[in-house]
């Protein structure tokens, strides 16, 4: 996985709990937990938009690209 979800970092910076964020953006805690642990295959723009609105950040603050050896080969 070369896209790393850094939502935990933003939550810590905003001193916000995952439970409160899940309630604010209207997704289940289970799904938010999957997102935080990077176990998801994708994030909808609508979800990203709501997270950014609540945490007052940019998508780039939540996702980072970490090149792996596979990416360099391609």
């Amino acid at each position: 996985m070369t896209i790393v979800v850094t939502l935990d970092v933003m939550l810590a910076r905003r001193k916000m709990r995952g439970k409160a964020l899940a309630a604010a953006i209207g997704i289940s805690e289970q799904n938010l937990s999957l997102l935080r642990s990077g176990k998801v295959k994708g994030v909808r723009f609508a979800t990203l938009q709501r997270i950014c609105a609540v945490l007052e950040c940019q998508p780039g603050d939540l996702l980072t690209f970490a090149p792996s050896s596979d990416d360099e080969a391609s």
Binding site: I27, L32, L34, L35, V40, K41, G42, V43, R44, T47
Partner: protein, 184 residues
């Protein structure tokens, strides 16, 4: 607001599916349970009912042994039909519980499709064996093996292949649904 309306219409569609599936699950189970007793009744009154594809000449003066043997041979077709109906009943029961996109559903639908495909050959085999059984005491040269194919058999084949394809599509849809669950 738009999302709420969409969710409520989705829930209403699901409820409708569950209602219909509930009725179908009970109907299929009832049919599966009734098939063998019905076939026994058919063989008890085969001269009057004659719903079987057997030559009428063979259906006169049948003894108990003839009838029991005929019934046992009919169980080949009945068994295939019961297997298919039981799979269908399980499938509808799962739909009723709300498990729509599930790998097990694709397997159950595939089983039903296979039973539909197997019915014509099972019918053909039963017909051949039944005529041989009923004409076993005939004088030499008058024994009989009757085989027949009708347009219904062809239709069963087409429907069976169609259902197999739908089961395959359901399998693919399940994979997509599983992937969608991982998109938040």
């Amino acid at each position: 607001m738009k999302e709420k309306v969409q969710n409520s219409s989705e829930a209403s569609r699901r409820r409708r599916i569950q209602r219909v599936a509930g009725v179908m699950a009970i109907s299929c189970m009832f049919l599966a349970l009734a098939l063998a007793p019905c076939m026994a009744v058919v063989w008890a009154y085969v001269e009057h009912l004659a719903p079987l594809r057997l030559p009428a000449a063979l259906l006169t003066d049948l003894s108990i042994v003839d009838r029991v043997g005929g019934f046992m041979l009919s169980l080949l077709v009945v068994g295939v039909a019961i297997w298919g109906l039981a799979s269908l009943a399980q499938l509808f029961a799962r739909f009723r519980r709300g498990d729509i996109f599930d790998l097990r559903n694709a397997t159950l639908l595939r089983r039903f499709a296979l039973s539909v495909l197997l019915l014509p050959p099972a019918n053909l085999l039963t017909e051949g064996l039944s005529t041989a059984w009923l004409s076993r005491d005939a004088p030499p040269g008058e024994g009989m093996i009757a085989l027949s194919l009708s347009s219904n058999d062809l239709l069963f084949g087409v429907i069976g292949v169609l259902l197999l394809t739908i089961a395959w599509v359901l399998h693919e849809a399940t994979a997509i649904s599983e992937e969608n669950k991982l998109i938040v």
